[in-house]
Symmetry: D2
């Protein structure tokens, strides 16, 4: 689904089937890069982990040693990194291995980790940079300004959908950036996703992603509280879910991804909260929502509390469980 | 839609078209009673406000002076009261005119207000009492126990849907009570509603209603925060609503009742938050959710905060606006 | 310290050294009753647990079988019960063994548990009833009204201070009730406490107690969050406590009862959060604060969230630890 | 009071009475600079507002046009700016006139606003930079690293106490930075404050300040809620304050700065919440607390909610009132 299809066409989008650069071959990046290959695009890829590179090389990608080399060889480059951080010196880095800010400060001195630093230093004029990482919209805007100085174009295109959707090319991309370049981005993104939505100026893709995930988090905790309260009041959970789903309490977390074991099949709650979207990832996205809200002086009382709840869960053993495990977290333990 | 249709049939449900009692002829009770009349049931009604009685009398109801008289003349009685409160002396009263507990203490000494007190003293053996008020499920259970001592049957059947749905007989009833009597209740309730859902033992109707409204409240505030944040980040509100509604942030408040003016037509946000479901009523329902959660030691962090937010709104001039006005409440004022 | 010493003197306060009734010999009630004995008052006591009675009997109290007998033999009666609950039938009971409302409904049918039921049925004219339980002020007011009908006087006098303070007669009593009877109450309470504060009409003692404990709970969680944040930012906890305590962040939880192990000696945090004031008791008091706030339509956003946090802690293994263990609850676990 | 007096003495601290630079002559900076003059230090000052410069010039300071000139002429420089922000290009700027990030992006292109940019470019080797602005500790650490590259030393020294304390040289300074330089900083800071507390490594002064203000905010809202609830329950506010202040609910907001009009004299609540510490400033500090907590993955549920409450207040007309006006905000309006 393409909510907005701006008519203008840039010349770069004609350059189909010329090589596409890909930086970041993790759980999401790897299947995304594979889908580019499947659609006939030569891919020039890199990652800090050699085994990730090896896997992609085996199916036809050209692997290079650094983002700088990617920048030298491709004029369309996708990045898919866990997070991106600006330092005082204006550099940009992948923080995959960085547990906290202090360690980050160390890691950027090690050239191996500073994925994007050289990318930006080496990027060619006219290059299209598409970043699918989930980061602060303000950082996306800083990156776009930096790219502009190099004569390049930067667009943000974060995704909705997990590893499964990435493999099946069923992701949703929320794209921000100059409208004239949208078609060029869309050409590549449609190889990897089912929906590509143009959200306006650069940073707006991130804004849409963050907004959606904040409301998702609120809805999930709300559903968990509500189901738990209903059960405590004597209601059958399946019946309660039915009632909510035909009433005004209905939400995605109640009708598609119910957090109560036994209510639905094929969801993490039916499988001990394995798989799905980890609590630690949700906490990260809520941290971004919190930061953008603080910076824009926007009150988000429930979003803020949702952030805190997932943060506490991360410290109580739920970090790697699906975020719907908040139902389990809130539920009274046996014997209490 | 009848989720559960228990097969057993009581003899009372054979007593069709014998008079039905109706206590409480307010904004909701009045159209409900009218729909009983339209379906051919003689109605014996009462209310503390004479004008409400007059209107119903004009279209064929028999109006009597007190709940006691209703109890004497009907063996199926519906009650639809703003709230119900138990006092130390075991009496039961309508608190319509009572702004707080202290005033309540006074009001119950005035016989005119003690609607249900006499009802319970005079109820005949075998009477079916159906209460559509929204009250604490624990109170419903107390009332059922009290009714049982009198040889009567009490069921709770709170509604979802507003004045419009009441007029059009499109309400949803959530019914709690003994299964053998459900058909008798259903016979009457289908005259006033489109959906009648059997929720299990007495009090479960209230439990379902309270749970739904708590999740609704959370979803509404969450939607208001999210839409506001998105707008502050530069997103077009209509586009953001579209994105949420095709993604995991989707909920009833985002796709049916969006709180942002200009996103949808025919909702309170399109009409200065007039009509709809008042903030003060939502605050009342969240108070019930809070009480049941406290009594059952169930944690409801977001539900609790939602309660507090609507409570603050009531004191800041939003009491009579639709509860979706939380968007306006959270939004930064001009000039700040 | 006696903040208010109303001059009027009732005749009952002349009745010194006549027997004093005592209902409820738990962790708090038992040392309180002992202090009455130490001050030369004959004590007529009862409790549902025979072993509690035995202990008091051994040091000189007269033990009777029921509150009814206490009511027949004493005209000054103290009650110290875990909680008190009114039922539909107007009875009053001790809910010590009752985990939830449903079990309560059963337990009141067992005469052994219905401590106060008979007390109120048998109370003599002119009796002074002093209740030191922590309950809803509205219930205290109902009880005072009920006592008045029997020709008796009811005052609420909840305590601040734990088992240690009870043993050392160092409790603080917050007293509500008619001013003319305050001296009579004060005579007994000064045997058990260091401070007796007259708070106004009946229920005001409870109101003051609930208010204090709500602010205490907020201050404790706030201190725990703040100390944890400071430590994560690299501050030495002892130094941070010093800075807070000389600045505007100062509160009882930071300067008397610091929740961080190693900052202070002689507090629960120095002893694995053993002893002190249990999380489950704090959650109970916050439930009362929540109920009174809901009933009076008063917004308490932080109080409400504090309630939810202690409620979650109760379900995650902290029920019997001191409430300052919220520091431990919020702190990130090793290995995360 | 000097909690820690490290014995080592740097040579710079011998340089007494040589000129001291001062950047930022606002409500706080101006009286601070005056106190340096009063203690015999020549002051070389600058600010974006000419009138602020004029006032200081009249009492003996040498005014220059830019931070760069300050950097060229002084080897001890104090900065006192509303906020400091790093941009992608590594520059540093005063955001006084910047309402949001977008405007910031514009403003840094105007050389007039980029106060510190040139300061850092021109700073001499061996210079001691002391920053008394309240900013993110992580930014302080970045600045210290940047200063180190220039051969200079950076310390953070935020203040507690308002304009009055600044005029009377009664501020409290919380100082972070290398221990060997602490004496040199202390020499200057004691001219402007009554307490200078060494908090450890650079950034720790900010950390202590942020922690204190977060707990202050929590205590103030908690006190406002508690006093409001007590009043609604029928307690006299003065009596309630007395009870809290002799009990475990005691905190700075209850015993020094009570938010309820009529309880204390000489505080903002006694003067229509004029003066004091503005809600908008408290919201800013809580935004910093929130950011540091998010970045260090520290849960701060009450701190986070306090942030949101002050944020909502800013949008509802309380921005410039003292932060204790939260009592007024929460209180029910007349006529509701």
């Amino acid at each position: 689904m393409h909510l907005c299809s701006p008519p203008s066409v840039s010349t770069r989008s004609m350059a189909s089937k010329t090589p596409v650069g890909f930086v970041g071959l993790g759980n999401m990046g790897s299947p995304m890069a594979k889908n580019l290959l499947r659609n006939g695009y030569p891919v020039i890829a890199t990652d800090v982990f050699p085994e990730s590179c090896k896997e992609l090389q085996d199916i036809g990608a050209q692997v290079v040693d650094s983002p700088a080399e990617v920048a030298e060889r491709a004029d369309r480059i996708l990045t898919m990194l866990p997070s991106i951080y600006f330092t005082f010196t204006g550099s940009l880095c992948d923080t995959r291995a960085s547990a906290d800010v202090r360690r980050l400060k160390t890691s950027i001195k090690e050239p191996g980790n500073a994925l994007c630093f050289v990318l930006f230093r080496k990027v060619k004029k006219g290059t299209l940079l598409i970043d699918s990482s989930t980061i602060d919209p303000a950082v996306s805007r800083e990156m776009a300004a930096a790219a502009e100085k190099m004569g390049a174009v930067f667009m943000d295109a974060p995704v909705s959908g997990g590893v499964g959707a990435a493999s099946l090319a069923k992701l949703t991309f929320m794209v921000g950036g100059v409208e004239e370049e949208y078609n060029a981005a869309q050409e590549l993104l449609t190889c990897m996703g089912a929906n590509v939505v143009y959200c306006g100026q650069v940073g707006n893709g991130q804004a849409a992603k963050i907004c959606n995930n904040m409301l998702l988090a609120i809805g999930m905790i709300g559903t968990a509280e509500t189901m738990n309260l209903g059960i405590r009041l004597g209601l059958d959970p399946k019946l309660l879910a039915q009632i909510l789903n035909m009433s005004s309490g209905r939400c995605w977390s109640s009708d598609v991804y119910n957090p109560v074991p036994g209510v639905m099949e094929g969801v993490p709650s039916a499988n001990s909260y394995q798989g799905g979207f980890g609590t630690t990832l949700m906490a990260k996205d809520l941290g971004l929502a919190q930061n953008t809200a603080t910076n824009t002086k926007t009150p988000i009382p429930l979003g803020s509390l949702a952030h805190q709840i997932f943060r506490v869960m991360c410290s109580r053993g739920y970090a790697n469980k699906d975020f719907s495990s908040v139902f389990q977290f809130l539920r009274e333990e046996e014997g209490q």
